[in-house]
Symmetry: C2
Subunit: 328 residues, 2 copies
């Protein structure tokens, strides 16, 4: 039995806490510490035995941590931290700004590769497990169409967009797949679907005192990119209701590949997630890929990687022979 | 643009024909020929321009074929052909006798590795894509249970078992998941399910003239391993009905991982296939993995492999940069 994989957590919000929980389920891993930009004594981790350090102390842990899991946000944290930390550590992150992934990959690769580190970027479920299923779909059934549906789930980005509107005190936004559209795709008929036909959006909004509900609703439903192309429902609720009824973070969705083979036989592949906690699930995926990052680095496979570069067997604590015997 | 991948098909039944169709959808592949143990002039391929050769001629094609797709059966063909042909060619096969996979792997590895060939065994959907999803399920959600359901679909092995009974002229058997069991698993409740609770079996049987239907039905429903642990329905039909209504080969099924994270949040991953043609789908998976076998061999990654050893990106004709931009 080889020694345990030593993990560090960089950033401790919902994602970092989820990683702490997920590592506790893995008998082949040790959590060395949590690193925070806040005052370490202000950070309450789940297991009080886990030490909390200041971010600046990370440089002293290069020989004490095998893989550092980056739990910061894609907007402000990872564009800096990914390239900076992958020069010192093997890393895994959940960078999810789809349009900027190619440039983020290049920046991390330029940092990790010359330093002999392995950095797996954009890990989670989308990007991540959904991406893998889009890839399997189009390679196995090249004559076909891929459909991705999200929800029912709370969208952080869209909730934030509503919160930025003048007069909004608090808000959450749920993305909901249109059942009829999902059924048509599942049937194998390969429909052409507009943005509006695929998803609806439900907003629950708490107004500032004296705010104009009509103006807020108008600002939401006409917002470019976020809402104008969708059928959006806006409900005004109390702060208490927001807290009591809308503080969970469910999410999920489907990737469906509908294709034809031979003389026209319909073949449908569906991958779906139903998640009571979106951040905890993403964290669980990060931890599995941390194991892969460690194994790839041991084999000398360095530089930036994505889920497309990781053989599934590397995710498991089991040996290749055990996997063939038990799971194939 | 590099040259096309040159493919050979060894064995031309339903699977071989499906491979021929699947290669026609791949612009990066050329089908060099079909190899048969029958008289080549008796084999009618879909595209008449594809040459058909005798199996014995394979030895002359070692420099003309990049990957040979083995389309024989697991019972009698592959145990001989897999080790024999993987000494001369990169190969992909659909060996599916789960219990014997470890020894088959060793035999193929001993043949492929010293000869510098790459041989991916047990490719298809189960073993294959379902195996990958069982692996992802238990690595991402270690605290949970995995459930595999098959069907509704025609089971070749069970149909054959019925056909071997005295007095049976023809038969098909459908495996059907029990809807209530599937619903309970999807709910995240992690039920314990017996064999009988998970699947039912429907048999459609044509009797020989004068055969005793009661005796045949008794022989079916009490058959060890195949039927005794299931609720089995037997219907007697005419030879004409068997031919007209039961000659398609639909199949499919589900792999569901139901797990908990954090303080008990339920997380459910479901992978499902709905296939109008089981052999054509398996063929399509084989062709995608033939591309991976070619790329792995080019990189010097030789010996026997399974789907657990293949990074998803290797399945695609696209470059890693294209995949990051388009699919991640």
């Amino acid at each position: 039995m080889s020694r345990k994989i030593r993990i560090g957590i960089a950033g401790y919000g919902n994602l970092g806490r989820g990683v702490e929980y997920a590592i506790a389920e893995c008998s082949d891993m040790d959590l060395i510490g949590v690193f925070t930009r806040r005052n370490p004594s202000d950070v309450k981790v789940v297991n009080e035995d886990i030490p909390v350090y200041a971010f600046d102390e990370l440089k002293d842990f290069q020989n004490k941590i095998d893989v550092l899991i980056l739990c910061g946000g894609s907007k402000n944290d990872l564009p800096i931290q990914g390239p900076a930390l992958s020069s010192m550590f093997n890393t895994v992150d959940s960078y999810d700004t789809h349009a900027k992934i190619p440039s983020y990959f290049e920046a991390v690769d330029a940092s990790a590769k010359p330093n002999g580190k392995t950095a797996i970027i954009s890990v989670g479920w989308d990007p991540g497990l959904f991406s893998i299923n889009r890839l399997f779909g189009e390679t196995v059934l090249p004559n076909g169409e891929t459909y991705t549906f999200w929800g029912k789930g709370l969208s952080q980005g869209h909730s934030d967009a509503v919160r930025r509107i003048d007069g909004v005190k608090g808000a959450v936004q749920y993305t909901i797949p249109v059942p009829d559209a999902v059924d048509r795709v599942r049937s194998g008929s390969q429909p052409e679907l507009t943005t509006r036909e695929k998803h609806t959006r439900d907003c629950y909004v708490v107004l500032e005192e004296g705010a104009d509900s009509k103006a807020v609703e108008h600002a939401i439903v006409t917002m470019p990119d976020y809402f104008v192309d969708y059928d959006t429902k806006v409900s005004f609720i109390s702060e208490e209701e927001l807290k009591n009824t809308h503080s969970a973070m469910p999410h999920g969705g489907f990737v469906i590949r509908s294709g034809k083979t031979g003389e026209g036989n319909a073949q449908v592949i569906e991958y779906s997630l139903t998640l009571e906690s979106n951040p905890e699930f993403t964290s669980s995926v990060l931890v599995a890929y941390a194991r892969a990052a460690y194994k790839m680095n041991e084999k000398g496979d360095v530089g930036a990687k994505t889920v497309f570069d990781v053989a599934p067997g590397l995710l498991s604590p089991k040996t290749a022979a055990e996997l063939r015997k038990e799971l194939l």
